[in-house]
């Protein structure tokens, strides 16, 4: 995508296929799970890009691939115009402080045998040239940043609630002053009242520290709340990418339309009036995706062409990308001939 503002992260034709092997000793590859299949996008500095999709759509794999936690199958990932995929392990290690991650399951992400002080200090001990006093100072600063008390420093993860643990995870991610943070479903495991606390904290931190987020979630309303632009994934592909306002005001891809209509709205009268697009069936296996458009098997408006030819992503309005054969007819509200 061409743009005036500088993009901090750029992903070009990213593919991540996980091999399916057979046999134990002489294992051979019998297929591949196409978790991410040819995905391109960029993230501007200071921006939050929301990445939504259902389970198995490949959204988490995208996040991990950007951070080079997976060896990607094909494509390129740029960070600050440096091609990460071309770097050596040591060069990559030097860049890592600038790219951090917040995980969904904060219980699994924190070492149960380390105190909070040790958890937050660990990235500094590994990466930075900090002495003990500096680490201590910075740890206190970080605790304050995520509104945790100093008294918590000597406690262990199991002594905290889910929301507090997520704050510890956030403090750790911010320890090395990153520029880019991948938030992988950071609020999915939390109660509603706590979700709001964490989301508010993330937006405050973004403003304060000029952070750039990739916000991965399946909760569309939360993504709408926090993101500047939103990308919708289905079965390893980005089917639609647009400014938040455009995507929610006039979603163009039939999948996006169904997804938005499926989200329940907390307003009874509106809920009773709303017409839902109920999709038939469930997401096919990424090991054996449908031919043509990946959504064609469930699409309520599919035409024969859809199950033959894969639609390419095209720009239908400034910054609004859709991969669908029917996009123009849907915009004009007419049928394809």
């Amino acid at each position: 995508m061409e743009s005036e503002t500088r993009s901090l992260v750029r992903v070009e034709h990213l593919k991540k296929h996980f091999p399916i092997t057979h046999g134990l000793l002489l294992s051979r590859q019998v297929g591949a799970v196409k978790a991410v299949d040819d995905v391109s996008f960029d993230i501007q500095e200071g921006e939050t890009l929301g990445l939504v999709g259902e389970s198995g759509s490949g959204k988490s794999t995208v996040g991990r691939s950007i951070l080079q936690l997976y060896k990607i199958t094909a494509g390129k990932v740029f960070f600050e115009d440096v091609e990460l995929t071309a770097l050596s392990a040591e060069e990559l290690r030097k860049l890592r402080p600038k790219m951090q991650m917040i995980f969904q399951d904060s219980y699994a992400a924190l070492n149960p045998r380390h105190t909070v002080a040790k958890i937050i200090a660990e990235p500094m001990a590994v990466h930075g040239d900090y002495d003990a006093a500096q680490i201590r100072l910075r740890t206190l600063e970080l605790l304050d940043l995520v509104s945790l008390k100093e008294a918590y420093l000597s406690r262990f993860p199991h002594e905290f609630s889910g929301g507090q643990r997520q704050r510890i995870g956030i403090a750790r991610a911010l320890a090395l002053n990153p520029r880019f943070v991948v938030c992988d479903e950071p609020i999915s495991a939390l109660d509603v009242s706590i979700q709001a606390q964490v989301v508010n904290l993330l937006s405050d931190l973004q403003k304060e520290l000029r952070l750039t987020y990739l916000f991965i979630a399946h909760d569309l309303s939360m993504v709408k709340h926090i993101s500047h632009r939103v990308a919708v994934m289905y079965l390893g592909k980005i089917v639609e990418l647009a400014q938040r306002k455009d995507l929610f005001a006039k979603p163009l891809h039939p999948y996006t339309q169904a997804l938005i209509s499926a989200v329940p709205v907390p307003a009874p009268e509106l809920e009773r009036r709303r017409r839902r697009i109920i999709l038939k069936g469930e997401v096919p296996s990424p090991a054996n995706p449908p031919k043509g458009c990946v959504f064609s098997t469930r699409c309520p408006v599919a035409i024969p062409e859809c199950s033959q030819v894969e639609p390419s992503s095209q720009q239908v309005a400034p910054g609004h990308f859709v991969a669908c054969h029917l996009v123009n007819p849907i915009v004009e509200g007419t049928k394809i001939t």
């Binding site: 259902e54 389970s55 609630s161 929301g163 507090q164 109660d191 509603v192 009242s193 706590i194 979700q195 709001a196 606390q197 989301v199 508010n200 937006s203 399946h218 569309l220 309303s221 939360m222 709408k224 709340h225 938040r244 929610f248 169904a258 997804l259 938005i260 209509s261 499926a262 989200v263 329940p264 709205v265 907390p266 307003a267 009874p268 009268e269 509106l270 809920e271 009773r272 709303r274 839902r276 109920i278 999709l279 469930e282 997401v283």
Partner: protein
């Protein structure tokens, strides 16, 4: 109260009346008051939603009613649950284990959050559905099989003749939940208890299941108790809503007044914490400070006081009673948020 009436489809006939239900768990560190003096009435054919955050006692309330609280640690320590079925009235909390077993499945069906752990992994789904039918209706295996096929088709499982022989792991999450629903409705229960049935499902599949349950409720004239933490799902589904907090009823109302005119600061907070799909997205979310209360020996005052922006002296001294504020609208709070002052006359 109209007891023993022949149910008319439109009249509001109570089906289940719970009064003062309390359930406790005895642990090494002390007694956990999981459910504390909860009362409600469920009418025939209506959908009641039980809403609250994890640990608020919504699931334990339902488990208590159907005798599934894990003993001996868990104990129903008080209350009654009158189940009106035709001309008979029974207190579910006083039934013997054998009687309860007959009630579960035939009068009250249940579906749970995680169908994979609720289904037996080494039995075909056909066997599992037939088992319920044989156990409760006493029909032959072949009759049960015929009914199973019908049920599978009815809950929207394609190709039932083939799928009847499949095992749970061969089904997707949504399909498994449909199997659970088939088992739950196999004996035409009067009440269907759905405990977070869509929480583990994707949003498009959730919409399918919500649709299915709504359709079944109409066709089978069931009453549904839908337990969830998601106020969004509830809005389109429920007739009435009960919000629970700390094992107690915070607020209870018809669905429209609950959303349009919430009275309890906790309900107000929950609604404010939801981002809107339709409204202004740049608005900051109203979060509720603090965390849910510890139910281990809870103090004898309002449990929400710790997190409540309106808490005043009285909230720290007494447990607020349930106050009627509208038609079947009750709230357990001393403070009138709309007026900005403590409520009169309590």
């Amino acid at each position: 109260m109209s007891r023993g009436n022949i149910p008319a489809s439109n009249a509001k006939t109570p089906l289940l009346e719970v009064r003062g239900l309390s359930t406790q768990f005895h642990t090494i560190s002390g007694v956990i008051h999981a459910v504390n003096n909860v009362s409600f009435i469920l009418d025939e054919g209506e959908t009641m939603a039980l809403v609250g955050e994890s640990g608020c006692g919504k699931s334990v309330t339902m488990l208590s009613l159907i005798g599934l609280v894990a003993e001996p640690a868990g104990r129903v320590v008080g209350g009654e649950a009158l189940f009106y079925n035709g001309i008979s009235v029974r207190d579910l909390l006083k039934l013997s284990k054998a009687e309860l077993r007959r009630v579960r499945g035939s009068d009250i069906g249940m579906i749970f959050q995680d169908p994979l752990t609720s289904l037996n992994p080494i039995m075909t789904i056909g066997e599992q559905i037939s088992e319920a039918i044989v156990a409760h209706k006493g029909v032959s295996m072949s009759q049960a099989r015929a009914q199973t096929l019908e049920l599978l088709d009815y809950v929207g499982i394609p190709d039932p003749h083939r799928r009847i022989q499949a095992y749970p792991h061969q089904f997707s999450g949504g399909m498994r939940q449909r199997v659970m629903i088939a088992i739950a409705i196999s004996c035409m229960p009067k009440i269907l208890i759905a405990d977070e049935p869509t929480t583990a499902l994707d949003v498009t599949v959730q919409a399918q299941i919500v649709d299915l349950v709504a359709q079944l409720r109409k066709e089978l004239h069931m009453a549904v108790i839908w337990i969830t933490h998601d106020l969004g799902v509830v809005a389109g589904l429920a007739d009435r809503v009960m919000v629970m907090y700390g094992g107690q009823t915070a607020e209870r109302a018809y669905v429209d007044p609950l959303y349009n005119n919430p009275q309890h600061p906790y309900t107000i907070g929950l609604l404010g914490a939801l981002p809107s799909l339709t409204g202004d997205e740049s608005q900051r979310l109203v979060s509720i400070v603090g965390t849910p209360p510890d139910l281990l020996e809870p103090p004898a005052h309002c449990l929400f006081a710790f997190r409540c922006p309106y808490a005043f002296e009285r909230c720290w001294q007494q447990v607020p009673p349930l106050i009627t504020v509208g038609v079947r609208h009750k709230v357990s709070c001393f403070y009138d948020v709309g007026k900005g002052a403590p409520r009169d006359g309590i």
